[in-house]
Symmetry: C3
């Protein structure tokens, strides 16, 4: 969809005028890719190497010289050398005085060294301005321009001018750049390329745990029960029937888990009488992964929906249906039309459809580009109002599923409740809490607290005053 990614290299190739000289220490893979790209963008490139005569590897058009010579020729030097070798730079301190050193290094794992590579470099060459940057860009992206990810250069450093010089280079290579503050942030920039969906870890564990639990629970209640008590082999049901029970349960429980922490936080704030007391850590972590919980819930809901759509083309469904018709004819009975059943099943299905459609809307608005186009009020409206509506509709959908099953003894095989009853527990708790929190007097108190009001305790001079100082109450 982004059709222009691969044209960047060509743009740069076209620019033949020189933009200045850039130094690169190290002729490794990244150094060479970067050098090539800089040459294409019209820079002169000077490599610093321990062995300048061995220049077989550097891109054509660049020069190779000793580190000292290279340092003298340029103002900005990329350090494309492993951290282990940084110490050789101490001998170059006079030549590097006042230069901009760009630390592009990454580590193999998080927390490998107590000090970030860039800060270590800065301590070795105190006379230079160290800028951390380009480490989130891959050599492959530099070479081909074909990947969509990691086109953004994050920089940090203590010298604004040095940072600007690096940002300018990034821009002239067709990359975007973002300033991430002082050199103290370098450790974090070095961790970014090592991350693998850090915010998804907890939600994925929750989803996997719930899926596994309900799968085995239903396996025992359905397949094993049928085999043990009736001697029937209905193991084929694992593939679809069971999956189509597990996924809706997981979807509903996880959707309600998105809204539970908000309710818990409101209760805590009411109890504390202030919003300035920190939440416990588990609640903070829970609140930060609500979006991921919601998206995984949506994924389960999609699976549930698709499994539902193919019910009527399944072999056993067709066989059962045919057998039923044949049985009716043989017995010469005809089952009368049950209006209540028609209403209940149609309402059940219709609420499912509407709940799913609203859930899809929630998912779409959490796409980065869509949520960026919303203001805070709109985003809050969608995620809160529409979210609770979705939860209510989906919970009702589940309640209607069991409308005539709750009181039947046959529902409670081996004295265990069926899956759909278990999965109603959390959503019902959330909805009841929300209902209680929406009682006007409680809701008013929460609104006050969220706007900065605090329950009078000790010093209470100008607090209501302070609270009133800002116009709106975002």
């Amino acid at each position: 969809m982004s059709m222009k990614s691969d044209s960047v290299a060509m743009t740069s190739l076209a620019g033949e005028r020189k933009q200045g000289t850039v130094g690169i220490f190290g002729t490794g893979d990244f150094g060479r890719s970067l050098g090539l790209r800089l040459l294409q963008a019209g820079y002169e490139v000077v490599f610093g190497s321990r062995d300048p005569k061995n220049s077989a590897l550097v891109p054509k058009g660049s020069k190779v010289m000793t580190h000292t010579e290279a340092a003298q020729m340029t103002q900005v030097i990329f350090i494309a050398v492993q951290r282990n070798y940084y110490h050789f730079l101490t001998s170059l301190t006079p030549a590097l005085e006042g230069k901009v050193l760009v630390d592009i290094s990454n580590n193999l794992k998080r927390g490998q060294f107590p000090q970030s590579n860039a800060e270590y470099l800065s301590s070795l060459v105190p006379g230079a301005s160290v800028v951390k940057g380009f480490n989130t860009v891959s050599a492959w992206a530099l070479q081909s321009g074909a990947l969509d990810a990691s086109r953004q250069v994050l920089v940090c450093g203590d010298d604004p001018k040095a940072k600007q010089a690096v940002v300018d280079i990034a821009h002239s290579l067709g990359l975007s750049a973002q300033d991430r503050g002082s050199l103290g942030a370098a450790g974090e920039l070095e961790d970014i390329p090592l991350q693998l969906f850090p915010n998804w870890r907890l939600p994925l564990w929750v989803a996997t745990g719930l899926t596994a639990f309900f799968f085995f629970y239903l396996l025992i209640r359905d397949v094993i029960y049928a085999y043990a008590e009736k001697g029937q082999d209905i193991s084929y049901r694992i593939m679809i029937t069971l999956a189509n029970k597990v996924f809706p349960i997981v979807a509903l429980v996880m959707l309600s888990l998105c809204y539970l922490p908000g309710a818990v936080a409101a209760i805590l704030q009411l109890y504390n009488g202030t919003k300035y007391k920190r939440f416990p850590d588990w609640l903070d972590r829970w609140m930060l992964c609500r979006k991921q919980l919601g998206l995984l819930a949506l994924f389960s809901a999609v699976l549930h929906v698709v499994y539902t759509f193919i019910i009527s083309i399944r072999y056993n469904v067709i066989h059962t249906s045919d057998t039923e018709v044949i049985t009716q004819i043989k017995k010469n009975q005809s089952v009368p039309f049950d209006n209540a059943e028609a209403w209940a099943t149609d309402a059940f299905l219709s609420l499912g459809v509407l709940g799913f459609a609203m859930f899809l809307l929630l998912g779409i608005t959490s796409l980065p580009s869509v949520s960026n186009a919303l203001n805070w009020r709109e985003f809050h409206f969608v995620q809160s109002k529409l979210g609770y509506l979705t939860l209510t509709v989906c919970t009702t959908h589940c309640l209607l599923y069991g409308w005539n099953k709750f009181l039947k003894p046959s529902t409670y095989k081996w004295f265990t409740p069926p899956g759909f009853m278990l999965c109603l527990v959390v959503p019902c708790i959330v909805l009841i809490l929300k209902l209680i929190l929406s009682i006007p007097c409680i809701d008013h108190r929460i609104t006050l607290i969220r706007n900065g009001w605090e329950r009078p305790t000790k010093v209470q001079s100008s607090k209501m005053d302070a609270f009133l100082e800002r116009g709106t109450t975002l």
Copy 2:
């Protein structure tokens, strides 16, 4: 999906070097959140307060002093005070001379004051450079960094250097910033956080109106007719059968409403002989909400499609089908296979599938990040060519639905046409207009007009000349 949002606060916490001093007038909720965030980013923060001794509330590490003292220590001062209290600043004019004042205030409703808060501030302290900004960012977003929305700081102001200072602060807090021009734009920036989907209002009214009309129309024709004329209770059909008639109708009518204003505009341009005459207001508003009309149409289409997918698992459908088979057997008839019926129904379904798939493509290309990746020609191609193709396919889908029903008298219950006939009116008008406008001689004239040509009227010196001055005709 954006995994890095919550890491911003940590980045900033890591930066321990001071970046300069920032003043904040007012210790309300927003002032304190902003102060905390600035401290984390390495700034020194000085609060100005009427009662400096009461510093219980300000974040640790910041200082509290009188407004005058605070103003003397800093160059940039955030005014986190309600507009009603601005007048106290007049007494500080000497201290505020040459300072940058950032107006972050919002109002409770649009048009609350005749003059924007920032312009009012500027008139009170003419010696200072007022910059409007940060009002679209919520205190909650500043504190947690967890929300995706409203991470963009919009600034406006008359002094470029002052604006740049504010933009720099936004960047060092990890927020993006956008310059929205001179201070005259402040009123508009103040309105942004108060908006709730302003562009969706009209389309939502249209969608609700159409849905309500067709729901009651079909309720009368189907359910009430059956009860009144035949004494049947088929009220259970409301949940799905009726919904699955209303939503496709609404989808098709609203899709055609996206393309009708374009056709009307072309006719008006032909009639006026120029594109430089303004369209009437209703047409302008209609054209500006075409995207929202289209997305609501897509939403209806999705509901229609999902309702269709669950037809065969509905109780009454299964019951009717079983009853039919049993009846056939009892009567010992066998219904012969009707090739024409098979062709017509399969073509009807297939066109529905294709139309829906194309409609989905249209929806995907209207996602902000996708449409941003297209150039004008590509965007136009998709929204116009693919759009009309979708409309044509969906209209044909609807026509095929009624292929053998148009001439049956039983179709016209109580002498009213069925819903699918009513809903064909607007699409057919749009398609016929489009067909007429595509006749080469008319199309050529419209192209000329859209490229700037005007029908000769009075002064006609160098118009064709002017028209030819630019190469292409975007």
Copy 3:
């Protein structure tokens, strides 16, 4: 979804303070639209015209004068004149000395002139600083602010200050701007508005070719075979049955075509013993359109899925099913439940559902805004690991479809293999290659090569050394 697009014009209208004077040569459509927008943003606008007295067309508030007079009054001049007329500027060289000329022109087709318009302009007026820009913005977008596409101004030029001046103007008009390097890139910028999905061309040809081939292949094997050999007219099957065979085949083949070039590239790298040898052109082009291949495959998969969902409401399916029940009853047989068949069909369907869900995830992560939020490692993980898992699941889905058909002679009508067998060829090759390339010793060698290692050939001094110089191996 982006609700603010149309508010830009209003923002600008509000700014009444003057921002400086901008010149526009040419009173054509684009010149006038740009002039109006500049006026709204608070600029003074001066048009240069051959016939200054004929000012009927220019927006109110702007001035019209001779080119020389206009040039003297402004620093930045937009050249809104066709390239053919550029030569008149040579007579103005003294007046244009040191001015910034913005070339906004486009051509009617690619490669119309050997030299880009901006470079030609620069050669005509060597004393001026030429900046290419605004050519990707349409006059319509400038006027209405309503379109989402093409709001980005791309600029290139040799004089950084001149570029900055143009970028500043773009920003104050509410447009975003991107620096695309030196004036040598102008030719490419001029080509951008002429592009129509250039990267989609090859994949669309492949998709169309595959669809056409399999459509006719299956038409012959199914419909024509039935007519020729059995005299049956089953032509109605073209609309859905055939489509639902063609689309899954195309989807699977195209999905595997996304992963084949990566495997071929790995083999080539192993063979060459280095990654620094260029791939053949066809492989480069293939690799650059993998994303488009994948998205077209997903589109086919969506069609397949939707066609599958409507199977049970098709006339002929219902008729066949009814007939079967009636036949069973008449013959007084009852078909026993086949557990193996139930397992196989449910497994087949369930894998299809899972494969489709994973395929959807792949599609979502290729949305620009989502992939931008991923780091390189995450993007690679999704596109490679999840991609191969999807391919494996979908291929197994297809294998299970034919599980009991491979050995039946009736499958091979007219001695040709059925479609699903043909479509298994490419995916199986890809999966086998991947399996071979995943053998530890081979995988290790590829990893080495991709990290910059080269098989020892001639000069081998410090290569392993160079390879070790950078920490990680992105």
